[in-house]
């Protein structure tokens, strides 16, 4: 309860601080005007204003000290602001007090000037903490966002090699610099987090660790980058420039590689970047020089996905389409419930998806030349079923040359023996073919087997008889009973006198030797026995 009150009071600081600024400015203006006009200011006015300034300044200082307890801000700037603010408070209070007596009244202008001299920089540093450096003048020096150029321009993207020193300062650090450092730097630590130094990243902030080295999935940073932009916790905030997919991917991979910090510290100064010791420093970029393009190697582009319009067009014709390999978006297409689809329609519907179809079932349909020609060109087609299609060798010819086909179901078709030759010579990657009731004669099939011995042919399923049968049964009850579980073993020593010293044994010193428990009188005897057990064998009683 107290804690909450203190926190609430602390948070009133940004509100209250405007009072001393306003009232002090008013007081100073009135003093200046009265100097110019040579009419002294009404004492009561002066006193009232001075008291107001003093009281509000004191309240601001108090709440400011309370706000300091929160971890959001820190660093040099906070210290400067704090002491200058205390200076304001002290000088205004003394200034107000000095008006009480004539003697001290001479100090009043000095103290007021001191207060003014403190409040201006105090205000400046305070605003730096909340709004960042250069906030006022930023519109005068527009900083174009540094373009991130991909190194892969249509060629092979370079492999992201984290063994190479310097990925952190060169790429990850630059991303943090560009998108994060305005709020998460050493001076202004939003959420208690500073992302401009390795130490700061490691230390984390109010929400805990910023990242888990080696585990991007559980890293807070990645979590927030990947949240939808409308989400309250998404980082960077939606009004700020957002890193693109390549940058986020780089951060993820950097974390996944263990978040290495090779390359040393870097510091943020004047919005520029200076790489610290450990390697040759790259040129510090200040506002005057043109922005340097950051080269971020790009992860391989995501494979294209089948068009949703094509999928729904197929489904509207009751053709079953299902993703069977989610990563590469490979599809299984089946005409089980759309057997009546005509050739041209089927070919037209499948054309936009041709590169994704891995498994096509035309079983029970009447595939025409267009469909078969399309199937022949599908680069990913591994399995094709023409079962129950009554397709002929001519249709098989139309299919000839399907590059990736591994399994072909030709059961219950109307082929002739020429098909065996086709199967043998074309369809180089074919490993299984189903030929039950396909119309091929036995001769053709054995020819096919001879020509392609590696090809697995499925025909009629043989039913083998048993290899052996047990003799006629005869029951008996004469098997020996199972051995009973062994009797529990006693751990009592079998002797009464120590075999080494012939003294009565102490049951605490016992040894299991050759399956028997032997007692001794003391530890030394045990050791002696163990050294030369044969010497004492006969001596046991």
């Amino acid at each position: 309860m107290l804690e909450t009150l203190l926190q609430l009071s602390g948070r009133a600081h940004p509100l209250l601080l405007h009072l001393p600024i306003g009232t002090l400015a008013a007081l100073v203006c009135l003093e200046v005007i009265s100097l110019v006009r040579r009419t002294p200011l009404e004492p009561r006015t002066r006193a009232t204003l001075a008291c107001l300034v003093a009281l509000s300044a004191a309240a601001s200082v108090a709440t400011g000290l309370l706000l300091e307890r929160e971890p959001a801000y820190g660093g040099e700037v906070l210290d400067l602001h704090k002491w200058l603010g205390i200076g304001v408070g002290v000088s205004t209070v003394f200034a107000a007090a000095s008006l009480a007596s004539v003697k001290t009244r001479r100090l009043y202008p000095i103290l007021l000037a001191l207060a003014l001299g403190c409040i201006v920089p105090a205000g400046h540093f305070g605003a730096t903490m909340t709004h960042g450096e250069g906030f006022l003048t930023e519109p005068l020096f527009p900083r174009k966002p540094v373009p991130i150029r991909r190194t892969a321009e249509g060629g092979e993207p370079p492999h992201l090699d984290f063994g190479v020193r310097g990925v952190y300062p060169e790429q990850a650090a630059q991303i943090f610099q560009q998108y994060c450092a305005s709020c998460h730097n050493d001076d202004k630590r939003k959420g208690g987090l500073a992302l401009t130094t390795p130490g700061g990243i490691r230390a984390g902030g109010k929400s805990g660790a910023a990242l888990v080295p080696g585990d991007p999935g559980n890293s807070e940073m990645v979590f927030r980058l990947r949240l939808p932009i409308t989400d309250r916790d998404h980082m960077p905030p939606k009004e700020r420039p957002q890193p693109d997919e390549a940058a986020i991917r780089l951060i993820e991979e950097w974390i996944g590689a263990g978040a290495p910090y090779e390359g040393g510290e870097l510091s943020r100064s004047d919005g520029g970047l200076a790489v610290g010791s450990g390697r040759s420093p790259s040129a510090a970029i200040d506002r005057a020089s043109p922005p340097v393009a950051i080269q971020i190697p790009v992860a391989p582009p995501a494979p294209p996905a089948p068009a949703a319009a094509a999928l729904s067009a197929l489904r509207e014709h009751h053709v079953h389409v299902e993703v069977v390999e989610p990563e590469r978006h490979l599809l299984w297409v089946s005409f089980d419930s759309a057997a009546g689809t005509d050739d041209a329609t089927a070919a037209r519907l499948m054309l936009p998806l041709a590169e994704f179809i891995a498994d096509l079932s035309l079983a029970g349909t009447r595939p025409g030349p267009e469909t078969l020609a399309l199937a022949a060109r599908m680069p990913a087609l591994r399995r094709l079923s023409l079962a129950r299609t009554r397709c002929t060798t001519g249709d098989l010819e139309a299919l000839g040359g399907a590059p990736a086909l591994e399994e072909l179901n030709l059961s219950e078709t109307s082929l002739d023996d020429r098909a065996a030759g086709l199967l043998s010579s074309r369809f180089t990657r074919l490993s299984r073919v189903f030929l039950w009731r396909s119309g091929l004669s036995d001769g053709a099939i054995s020819g096919l087997r001879a020509g392609r011995p590696a090809l697995s042919l499925a025909l009629e399923v043989p039913a083998d008889g048993p290899l052996e049968t047990e003799p006629p049964l005869a029951f008996s009850g004469d098997a020996p009973p199972l051995p009973a579980p062994g009797a529990p073993v006693s751990l009592a020593p079998i002797n009464a006198l120590c075999p080494v010293s012939n003294k009565p044994i102490d049951a605490r010193f016992a040894l299991v030797h050759k399956g028997r428990v032997i007692g001794f009188c003391c530890e030394q005897c045990v050791a002696e026995f163990l050294a030369e057990p044969e010497k004492f064998e006969g001596a046991r009683r």
């Binding site: 729904s312 079953h320 069977v324 390999e325 089946s334 029970g364 179901n409 059961s411 009973a484």
Partner: protein
């Protein structure tokens, strides 16, 4: 997400109807529109709503299998008389079950009154059949199935915790002995959706047995807390697999379509008002029923089957409602893309008169189930269909009731039992796990039901820890908090 937040989001219609559009059995949003558009004027029979695929979640990685045919032998078939060969027991006829084997396991109320627990060896002769290991000994009761042992994977070391049928079957189907959870087929439907818009995703076929039968509850294929459209659809044995499927005399298909559109519009209005997802399920069921009016008669029409295939399934295949007929239907359903086909064969609960009962049961199932596997294999469907044959637990080595050289009974035994699997990424021709000489305890490689579920979901392309549904604040999974994928079962 907090349930209240979900509800507020649902209140923005777009999201609610967006979710509807992705629901498994029909795009309600599209339905509301299509009922106004007479786009099917050219094809009055056409189903009204498109079938989005992938269901709620879709696969997580590349699947090995696309569908499951699960033959559940209700009542618990005796592993000692079928698949678990214990020749040593021939010499222990009528001996007492040693305590070192039983280790104090609880006995059911049915045998607790017995003075003795006499060992009852099987009276059936076993033969060794070739597989991809050293061969496997299987009994004379199932010669057709045994002939396929190069393609089957036998798990001798299954175990469960349930001792009675209801909790046992509930556990095997839903992953928990307490009722209320969705069944495996519902999870498959929720995760993968249907591959054929005109048939239900989850179909159940039941055949009556010849031995002691126990009750089958509809919640074994129920959807639990998943949306109701994922429940199993039971096709009745007999002439009419779905009651009232045919339109009555005087009602034509376009009339039926108009009626459904009107009812759908009224339901839609209520759904917009109350946002009750069960209304969506009801609309989806209506649409499915409409589509089944054409697809089910086509499914049941066996005139296209050639006689050799029919003969392979045995003499009973022509009789609707028998296991043989159901096996043939299962193959036809698999051809048409139904995801989860479940066959229940009742009557294996042989507490008494086991030899006689099991002979009748085995004759009824052996040839059809082997024919099913062979038929799937030669048509090229076995590679992406998992076939499972399982009971809910095993049977005891000791006899319940009187023991003679020709007759005995067996009580329930959860500690070890045998199932077999085939197809769809399962390693063929192997025998996993071993039990001790009394087929009482497992000595090698125990596999529990959760592990089996996890492995099957893995073969279907879903991680068992990722397929979940939030209900009452908890993310439930089929495998509860257990289960791991067993690599020794995978090809």
């Amino acid at each position: 997400m907090h349930p209240l937040e979900e509800h507020y989001l649902d209140l923005t219609r777009r999201r609610f109807f967006g979710t509807c559009a992705q629901s498994v059995s029909g795009a309600v949003g599209a339905l509301a529109l299509s009922s106004l558009i007479r786009a099917d004027a050219a094809r009055p029979d056409a189903p009204a709503s498109p079938q989005p695929a992938g269901g709620a979640t879709g696969v997580h990685f590349r699947p090995r299998a696309k569908r499951i045919i699960y033959m559940h032998m209700e009542g618990a078939p005796s592993q000692l008389d079928l698949f678990d060969y214990k020749p040593g027991l021939r010499h222990r006829f009528n001996q007492d079950l040693p305590d070192s084997i039983r280790q104090g396991q609880r006995i059911t109320g049915m045998t607790s009154g017995q003075a003795r627990l006499p060992v009852a060896p099987s009276i059936f002769r076993f033969s060794r059949y070739a597989n991809n290991q050293n061969g496997i000994w299987l009994s004379e009761l199932m010669p057709h199935t045994a002939a396929l042992s190069r393609d089957l994977c036998f798990i001798h070391s299954m175990h469960t915790e349930a001792i009675n049928h209801e909790p046992g079957i509930t556990f095997f189907q839903t992953g928990s002995q307490q009722p209320g959870r969705p069944s495996f087929g519902s999870w498959a439907s929720y995760g993968l959706g249907s591959a054929n818009a005109n048939l239900p995703t989850f179909v159940v076929l039941i055949s009556q047995g010849f031995g002691n039968m126990q009750a089958l509850s509809a919640r074994f294929w129920g959807s639990g807390f998943l949306p109701s459209e994922h429940q199993g659809c039971k096709l009745r044995g007999g002439e009419d697999p779905v009651l009232y499927l045919r339109d009555p005399a005087g009602v034509e298909r376009p009339d039926r379509r108009r009626m459904l559109d009107l009812v759908g519009a009224l339901n839609n209005r209520e759904m917009q008002r109350s946002l009750d997802p069960e209304i969506r399920a009801r609309i989806a069921q209506h649409e499915m029923a409409y589509r089944m009016q054409t697809s089910v008669p086509e499914l049941m029409d066996l005139s296209g089957e050639d006689p050799e295939t029919l003969a392979m399934y045995g003499p009973e295949v022509g009789k609707p409602g028998t296991f043989a007929s159901n096996c043939l239907l299962a193959r036809r359903l698999a051809e048409r893309g139904v995801r989860f086909i479940q066959l229940y064969m009742r009557g294996w609960d042989a507490h008494n008169n086991l030899p006689g009962e099991i002979r009748l049961q085995s004759t009824a199932v052996d040839q059809p189930q082997a024919a099913l596997v062979r038929d799937l294999k030669r048509r090229g469907l076995l590679d992406d269909t998992i076939v499972i044959w399982a009971g809910e637990f095993g049977r005891t080595v000791y006899s319940q009731g009187d023991l003679s050289e020709t007759n005995y009974g067996r009580d329930h035994h959860p500690r070890c039992f045998t199932i077999w699997l085939a197809g769809g990424g399962i390693k063929p021709g192997v025998s996993i796990g071993k039990t001790d000489d009394f087929s009482y305890n497992i000595v090698e490689n125990p596999v529990d039901v959760h592990d089996l579920h996890a492995t099957l979901l893995h073969l279907l392309g879903m991680g068992h820890e990722r397929l979940s549904f939030r209900h009452e604040g908890r993310d439930f999974r089929l495998t509860d908090v257990f289960g791991k994928v067993r690599p020794e079962l995978l090809a």
